[in-house]
């Protein structure tokens, strides 16, 4: 009995032991299932909660001009964001933030009380505000650096560059066209965090910040030429009372656009309240009747086709020529008798041109117009390019042919016009105009470089040379219509033009609303610069030779003086420059009264005593937009040195040579 009960006791104990063994083996199996079989899945989930991710837009690529000057850049600005789950007292925090950020308290409260664990409160605030937010040290509210687009030169090339929206995506111009490229892939800011959301610095090596993968854009634009073109255009538009103006500078041999300006400009740093009309790049988007600037293409075509010879003479009907039911007159009621072909260009005879076109026939004429690139987009890398209007040749009446000969009844864009004149300058070869020279990567290594593209041979080199010679005469001859474009010691080939603006409300060409223009290039024997200037409805000096030609001349003169100094054989030494040289030598005598610590990034630096170059350098480093008046050394500035920098980072600096 005792032995029997002992046996049963053993059985019971062993059965309990087995029971426990089964339990523990079940635990090991469960551990195997959790850790080995579905470990990876759970691990992924765990890592997800261990890391916090903040999507950040990569810093937008820089737009450079051809010399590496920054036209559009990104600066880092602070943005305020919050993790509402970590804010203990949303009402107090929102009151505090509302005061700092000058926002509505209730709007902030609504955001903070929400269920999300990440919200933006304010994007790209000023450095001042950022400091206050940082010092307020509100739990759950933090600052993130975000890139902000900045155009260091303000209005410079604004129509080309366009601008970006609040999320720094391109909305207009090159910013829009090359948005993907400049924007790059959005960056992810990843960090390890504990359950309270606190960032763990010992684990910083886990932070996998994606490297910037955007590109920088390098333009063919030369910002110095762009600047002077804009300056002269603006001055001309203002002094002639014009509604606006367009100017393009192009390298005729390559098709590179060196400058493209629209007046009036705008500041892409602050586009609030500017109407879309203002940022329309009229140089490519608007088409108009070219007027007399079209005559060289007629003559070039007729010569090239062998229809006329240079020596041919045309009777110009003493200023009154009837074609079908229409009477064609010369501009300014001039009366010409018999003119040779070069004279027709020189005096810009409408009747002579009509007769050439008549002789040439509409088929050939239309053919050459097309070959020069009119009626089709040039394919320049800008959005919104217009085709112009070239009606089908079958619809041309005799009057149409006669009028198109002097540029009425056909619509062209400024970019077509300068490309076409460049073809004459470039031995008859039409180049495709382009504005993007290439891309670089983040470290400014060249990724892609565009080379000039030949569109087609429009006329023979010989014809091109002949027409160039005639156009040189237009400017050079004492009685030439383009004599106002004359530049000392450089042979300029050019043509004036004035077209009446078609009045759509009345259906006729307006008599007093005109568009006056000048196209040309120099030096005539080896053309390097082609310039087009158009003034829209000038109130004074309506006729092309008077209003637009001097602008051409001023631009050309300055390009020759400053940048293409090798073109002119005998650079003139003028007294002005001699004086400046002396002053530069005396620079060290000028005390630089720097009272403000120019290393303090949050206040306006002291520019006084600095040269223009130094001023621009400091301002650029600080992302301040300076407007410069005068020349020499800075004598005055507004806002004053030491003023805290605000949203509007601009400063007016006056320069003077007299100390």
């Amino acid at each position: 009995m005792a032995a029997d009960s002992k046996k049963w006791l053993k059985v019971r104990i062993v059965s309990l032991l087995v029971f426990f063994l089964v339990l523990f083996i079940a635990l090991i199996s469960r551990a195997f299932q959790l850790q080995v079989l579905s470990g990876q899945k759970l691990k992924t989930l765990a890592q997800k909660q261990h890391t916090a991710t903040l999507p950040l837009q990569a810093e937008r690529g820089v737009i450079y001009d051809r010399n590496g000057e920054k036209l559009a850049a990104s600066i880092l600005a602070d943005s305020v964001c919050a993790d509402p789950s970590r804010i203990a007292e949303p009402s107090r925090a929102s009151a505090q933030l509302a005061q700092i950020l000058e926002m509505d308290k209730n709007a902030i409260y609504k955001k903070l009380a929400g269920p999300k664990n990440f919200i933006w409160l304010a994007r790209r605030i000023s450095p001042d505000q950022a400091v206050i937010v940082e010092n307020a040290n509100i739990d759950g509210v933090f600052l993130v650096k975000e890139p902000k687009r900045f155009y260091p030169n303000g209005e410079l090339a604004a129509h080309l560059l366009g601008f970006v929206g609040s999320d720094t995506s391109g909305l207009e111009g090159l910013e829009k066209k090359y948005d993907e490229l400049l924007k790059g892939k959005s960056q992810k800011h990843v960090w390890t965090r504990d359950a309270k959301g606190k960032r763990l610095f010992p684990h910083a090596d886990n932070e996998e910040a994606v490297k910037d993968v955007n590109n920088n854009l390098v333009l063919t634009i030369d910002s110095r030429i762009q600047y002077l073109v804009e300056t002269h255009l603006k001055e001309a538009v203002q002094s002639k009372g014009a509604r606006g103006g367009i100017a393009i500078v192009m390298d005729p041999k390559t098709g590179e656009i060196l400058a493209m300006a629209n007046e009036a400009g705008f500041n892409p740093n602050n586009i609030k309240g500017i109407k879309p009309e203002r940022w329309r790049n009229r140089a490519i988007a608007d088409s108009f009747d070219p007027g007399s600037t079209f005559k060289p293409f007629l003559v070039a075509g007729a010569l090239d086709a062998g229809i006329i010879k240079e020596k041919d003479k045309f009777f110009c009907e003493w200023g009154r020529y009837k074609v079908a039911d229409r009477i064609i007159r010369e501009a300014n009621s001039k009366k010409h008798g018999t003119l040779s072909v070069p004279d027709i260009l020189k005096y810009s005879s409408n009747i002579g041109s009509s007769k050439i076109a008549e002789k040439m026939g509409r088929e050939k004429f239309h053919d050459y117009i097309e070959k020069f690139g009119f009626g089709a987009r040039t394919g320049i890398e800008l959005n919104g390019e217009a085709k112009g209007l070239l009606r089908p040749m079958q619809k041309w009446t005799k009057v149409d042919t006669a009028m198109i000969a002097f540029g009425q009844g056909i619509s062209v864009t400024a970019i077509q016009l300068i490309s076409a004149i460049s073809a004459i300058a470039n031995n008859g070869i039409l180049m495709k105009p382009y504005i993007v020279r290439g891309f670089t990567d983040n470290d400014n290594r060249l990724v892609k470089m565009y080379t000039p593209t030949v569109a087609r041979q429009v006329i023979s080199p010989e014809t091109a040379r002949r027409v160039t010679a005639m156009l040189t005469e237009v400017v050079d001859a004492s009685d030439g219509t383009g004599k106002n474009a004359r530049i000392v010691n450089v042979a300029v080939a050019g043509k004036t033009g004035t077209s009446q603006i078609f009045d759509f409300s009345r259906g006729i060409y307006s008599r007093d609303k005109v568009r006056t223009s000048f196209i040309g290039f120099f030096p005539a024997d080896n053309p390097q610069v082609a310039i087009l200037v158009i003034l829209d409805q000038p109130q004074h000096d309506k006729w092309g030779g008077v209003a637009a030609a001097p602008v051409f001349k001023n631009i050309g003169e300055q390009i020759l003086n400053c940048y293409k100094t090798n073109i002119r054989e005998n650079p003139v030494f003028d007294q002005d420059q001699a004086n400046k040289l002396q002053l530069v030598a005396a620079e060290q005598n000028i005390p630089a009264p720097i009272t403000v610590d120019n290393n303090d990034e949050t206040v306006m630096p002291d520019f006084q005593g600095l040269t223009i170059r130094e001023t621009i350098k400091i301002a650029k480093a600080r992302a301040i937009e300076v407007s410069i008046a005068g020349s020499g050394w800075a004598i005055n500035q507004y806002p004053k040195a030491g003023t805290p920098l605000t949203e509007d980072r601009s400063c007016k600096v006056t320069f003077s040579v007299s100390d």
Binding site: S5, W8, L9, K10, R12, I13, V14, L16, L17, F20, L21, L23, F24, A26, L27, I28, R30, A31, F32, L34, Q35, V36, S38, G39, Q40, K41, L42, K43, L45, A46, Q47, Q49, H50, T192, D194, A195, K196, L200
Partner: protein, 369 residues
């Protein structure tokens, strides 16, 4: 074993002792690893819990050595006083300022310098009492009234204040120990089934009565349903296990202790071990408990008398059951109970009492026939 060895004192079970020392070492290291961040935040001292645990380890070893020295048969004298002491202490918890309320439950006695978790001691005392009672009444066990009702009634009196703390987990453990000890002692299976049939509706009623118990149960059934709230703890624990994979992320390098897991150094210490040492580490820990159970039941089998057998089995089971409930809980196999993992979790009373149990076991092992 022949007659020569009979009644001679043997040396204590070395393997059991070794297993316990390994568990203590691992536990102390992991308590430091898992608690340092929390300690740094709460007490500005990363070694706060480590230092206290080292004190507990010494106290535990002293308790163990003491129990090895006292012949287990002497403990029978403490059986009835033990039950009375248990009741007094359990009732004292309901006196304000003496009973400390933590996390919604009043489980600690305030002893000024340290707090004392009464149920940890009650478990051991109840086993001692049951072993004594059942060994004495071994011949009456066949009758339901004497064999089952008396131990059941006394146990119920002790469990009742525990349920009011509330400490459902410990109540369940004591009830299960009661059933298993009755089983070993030779109670009829039929009677045990009747007892189980009576206990289960009580347990269901108790679960339904308290909202959080139900929440724990639903969280266990589908933790992802309410991942942010009731399922949060178990999900965090499962993520810890998964993160560890086969080999773990390395001791000290776990992420889950950074406030993701609540109480990483007490209830969820195995989750941290799982994350930092992987499946290998978890298996080693479980194997240690298996060896412990094997040796414990071995001692029970070889005990010279029925009291020793019952006492050894009861102590082995209370620790093995505690380990199983904790491990199964953090692995999501059973609902979370809020019980510590013996020898590994931080906690003074639990540790000292576990060591006392080990001491008694070792003493029984020296008295083998």
């Amino acid at each position: 074993m022949d007659a020569a060895a009979k009644n001679e004192e043997k040396s204590p079970d070395v393997i059991l002792l070794l297993v316990i020392l390994i568990l203590i070492t691992v536990g102390t290291a992991m308590i430091y690893s898992s608690s340092s961040i929390i300690a740094l935040e709460r007490f500005k001292d990363g070694q706060y819990f480590l230092k206290k645990q080292i004190v507990f380890v010494f106290m535990g070893i002293v308790a163990m050595v003491l129990m090895i020295k006292i012949p287990y048969t002497q403990l029978r004298k403490a059986a009835y006083p033990g039950v009375i002491l248990s009741l007094i202490l359990l009732l004292l918890l309901f006196v304000p300022h003496i009973g400390l309320k933590r996390g919604g439950a009043t489980r600690w006695l305030n002893l000024v310098f340290f707090s004392f978790q009464v149920t940890e001691m009650v478990k051991i005392l109840m086993i001692l009492f049951l072993a004594h009672l059942l060994a004495r009444k071994t011949h009456q066990l066949q009758k339901f009234s004497r064999g089952v009702l008396i131990p059941l009634a006394i146990t119920a009196v002790v469990i009742l204040p525990i349920l009011f703390q509330p400490d459902f987990g410990t109540a369940v453990i004591i009830a299960m120990i009661l059933v298993m000890m009755l089983y070993i002692a030779g109670t009829r299976i039929k009677h045990l089934l009747i007892l189980a049939a009576a206990l289960i509706p009580v347990a269901v009623l108790l679960v339904l009565q308290k909202g959080y118990r139900m929440a724990r149960l639903t969280a266990f059934l589908d933790p992802w349903k309410d991942a942010g709230n009731s399922g949060f703890q178990i999900i965090q624990s499962l993520l810890s296990f998964g993160s560890g994979g086969t080999f773990g992320v390395g001791i000290g390098d776990g992420m889950q202790k950074l406030f993701y897991l609540p109480e990483p150094h007490t209830d969820f210490i195995l989750s941290i071990i799982a994350e930092e040492s992987g499946f290998i580490g978890v298996t080693i820990i479980i194997v240690m408990f298996i060896i412990f159970a094997l040796r414990g039941f071995m001692i029970s089998l070889k005990a010279p008398d029925l009291f020793g057998t019952l006492l050894a089995a009861g102590l082995t089971m209370v620790i093995a059951l505690g380990a199983f409930i904790n491990i199964a809980g953090v692995m999501g196999l059973i609902p979370l109970k809020g019980l510590t993992l013996p020898f590994l979790s931080y906690g003074g009373t639990s540790f000292v009492m576990s060591m006392t149990a080990v001491g008694i076991l070792l003493n029984i092992s020296t008295q083998t026939v």
